[in-house]
């Protein structure tokens, strides 16, 4: 049984903050295909299109028939542990700091033999559920879990290294004026967050739900206007070293395409919040979080962005908003690279239209704050770096991956809100 985590003690200011070390992050290009899927929490192996043989480790050529037509397929997660060991020594600093460490040889139901990290509750001979996740190096790894939930399962040492569980962590929600921001606050507290910092711009302006937020324990309002550099700087100075997870809920979305408007005022407002807001947050909070990525059980662990799915391909009905989301999405890719080496996961949550005033005329399905917050907390608990929320975003993702050129033209022919 996993030992339950205890609430982290107050930090001793005299001790040096542990500098992040990483597990080995070197991978071949083929294995990077495994990592890209693991980042979405998808367990996939290569299959040969010609002979159907499964490959592991990742190959460039099928070992059975020498075809080069290998495709990634999601597989059954079932496996059996053939052998296991507990490492007491390692050549790698990251693992050395975390010894002892358990690994095992697993025979997957699909036939492949893999090495995997082992959850404390599984042993040789057990049937297990194998998951794929990115580790602190940002590369995909496998871990074997019990098939059924066990007590304190998420508190397992190896598990917590792969996830970004909010339990006992302190979270900044950058904008709690939004329905998502408020639902998220409650969901994080329910998930065991030690504290939630509530970002509010222009806090003298009233907003619905404020009274309820004020009644919640373990929360603290923080003045934060992402469109003002000084405001973001001040907030980072006051709470930056206490933020283990940052969730950026600030968004500015207005309907309209470029030729339906005069001038650039609305487009600038969108960029100020959606692009430059993220830019400012990254510059002021990113470096502090990066330095605290190995700071014990409540280390800095994740940065979460909410992006409209139209960041991937422009929906002209929300044309300029889509453009600002695309810019922000690109910046997030830059930030992921900047976080590399620290072990902080950059999580992008791509969503369809929210059920708010600025999407009011749109037909359902639209996303409620509860749906959004549930998906964000789940991504943190599972340690998934990319997640698509709701039917529209998932449908869009499939079409985008199938053929981005076709999708772009489909969107151009579907500009009307009806």
């Amino acid at each position: 049984m996993a030992k339950p985590l205890s609430p982290p003690k107050a930090k001793n200011p005299l001790l040096r903050t542990r500098v992040p070390a990483n597990p080995p992050g070197l991978r071949s290009r083929a294995a990077t295909g495994f990592s890209a899927r693991a980042a979405e929490g998808i367990l996939a192996l290569q299959y040969c299109s010609a002979c159907n043989a499964v490959s592991y480790p990742a190959r460039d050529i099928c070992a059975n028939c020498w075809s080069d037509d290998l495709e990634w397929r999601e597989i059954d997660s079932a496996g059996e542990i053939l052998a296991s060991t507990t490492l007491q020594s390692s050549t790698n600093v990251y693992f050395r700091e975390r010894m002892p460490w358990r690994i095992g040889t697993i025979k997957l139901a699909v036939g492949a033999i893999v090495l995997a990290h082992l959850h404390v509750d599984v042993n040789t001979g057990d049937t297990v559920r194998v998951i794929a996740r990115t580790d602190k190096s940002g590369q995909g790894v496998l871990m074997a879990l019990p098939t059924k939930e066990t007590p304190n399962m998420a508190d397992d040492k190896a598990m917590r290294e792969l996830t970004c569980d909010p339990k006992y962590r302190r979270v900044l929600v950058t904008d709690v004026r939004t329905e998502t921001g408020q639902a998220l606050t409650k969901a994080l507290l329910a998930a065991g967050a030690k504290k939630v910092f509530l970002g509010v711009a222009d806090d003298w302006k009233p907003f619905p739900g404020k009274a309820e937020l004020e009644s919640l324990e373990n929360t603290e309002f923080v003045p934060l206007n992402v469109t003002l550099d000084g405001s973001v700087l001040e907030a980072s100075k006051s709470i930056g070293a206490k933020v283990d997870i940052l969730i950026n809920t600030a968004q500015y979305v207005r309907p309209g395409s470029v030729m339906s408007r005069n001038g650039t005022v609305t487009a600038k407002d969108e960029m100020e919040v959606n692009y430059f807001g993220l830019h400012r947050l990254l510059q002021h909070f990113g470096p502090i979080m990066r330095s605290r990525a190995a700071d014990g059980d409540n280390s800095a662990v994740a940065w979460v962005n909410m992006f409209s799915i139209y960041a991937l391909s422009n929906w002209p009905a929300y044309g300029t908003a889509s453009a600002s989301q695309a810019a922000a999405y690109s910046l997030a890719q830059n930030a992921r690279a900047d976080f590399m080496g620290s072990g902080i996961k950059l999580i992008n949550v791509l969503h369809g239209p929210l059920d708010d005033e600025w999407h009011q005329p749109l037909s359902p399905p639209k996303l409620t704050g509860n749906k959004m917050s549930g998906s964000i907390v789940a991504a943190l608990q599972q340690g998934i770096e990319l997640t698509f929320v709701g039917d529209i975003a998932n449908d869009f993702k499939d079409r985008w991956r199938e053929d981005p050129g076709v999708l772009e033209r489909e969107l151009a022919h579907n500009t009307h809100i009806d």
Partner: protein
Amino acid sequence: MTVKRMSYEGVVAVAPVTVPYIRYSHQTAHWWLGKALKALSDATGLRSADIDGYCVSSFDLFPDTAVGLTQHLGLSPRWLDHIPMGGASGVVGLRRAARAVQSGDAEVVGCISADSNHVDAFRNMLTAFSRFSQDASFPYGSGGPNGNFALLTDAYMKTYGAKREDFGKICVAQRENALKFPHALMKKPLTLDQYMSARPIAEPIHLFDCVMPCAGAEGFLVMSEENAKAMNLPYANILSTIERHNAFTEDPIQLRGGWAVDKDDLWSMAGVQPSQAKFLQTYDDYPVISMMQFEDLGFCEKGEAPDFVRDNTLEVGGSFPHNTSGGQLSVGQAGAAGGYLGLTEGLRQITGQALGAQVENCDVGVVAGFGMINFDRGLCSAAAVLGSA
């Protein structure tokens, strides 16, 4: 098979040399390989121009290969081979060189293997050992070979009932042999109690199941029997050899090596029985691998190595002399030279030139090699049966 294998008759191995091992060295693999050549030259009187073939094994030559080494060491061979097969390099080098001499492509082949051991060199080697290891093994705890061999030792123990005491008996016997071998880095006796109470490294692997990485070099020459006689060099005949890579891919976890595929060929070509062998030098990076060799080379049935160990005494002078110099477990593992250590010792024994304890009436002996954990298992296996002149 329609083509009958040719014998190695008329081709012999001579002049086994060891450049004494040290724990750490700031020198390079080039330096150690050069020392091995000097030792060969000192032992035989041959100079660079007299050796027209070279066969080289080293992990640490990068960015050079055997090619760069020719210019670095002033060699101008007409036959050159580079064998990156880790623990199988010695036997594979021997069989390659023997065919070169037999066919006349080279007259004298110098087989050399060396690695240095800088502080931290071992970690660096593991980081980029192979692509599959990099992609699918090293990210899991970075225990290196300890982790891989712990897993297959765990499986072997559960499948065949081997006990830690059985592995301990192998290690203790080797230490006994090593105490008489001047180049062994381990100089203190080892008791079974000490073995059993050693700290765990990766259960079921404990400290004395692991080799100590070090720096060192090994070498020997392959030439015609006629030349050896003319130079008055004691020589070993090559009765047979085998080599196999990536065998038994269907096995979910490695409980046997490629020797099992080829052992009938090994013994029928040699024209002797396993019971006639006066010694066995196994590749002993971990004692479980030695047990697999007892089985897969035909000294006992599959799964019976634990009983075989219990029923035999493994020291020189015992019922089954095994790793007579102490093996890597007690001499040290000098990188790729670990793949030569059993062969140079085997050549000394068969020519009656043991530096430590000499096996009596040593007319037939077996040397085996095993190498390269590419992902979850060792891929290269090799063996040779040697006969006295």
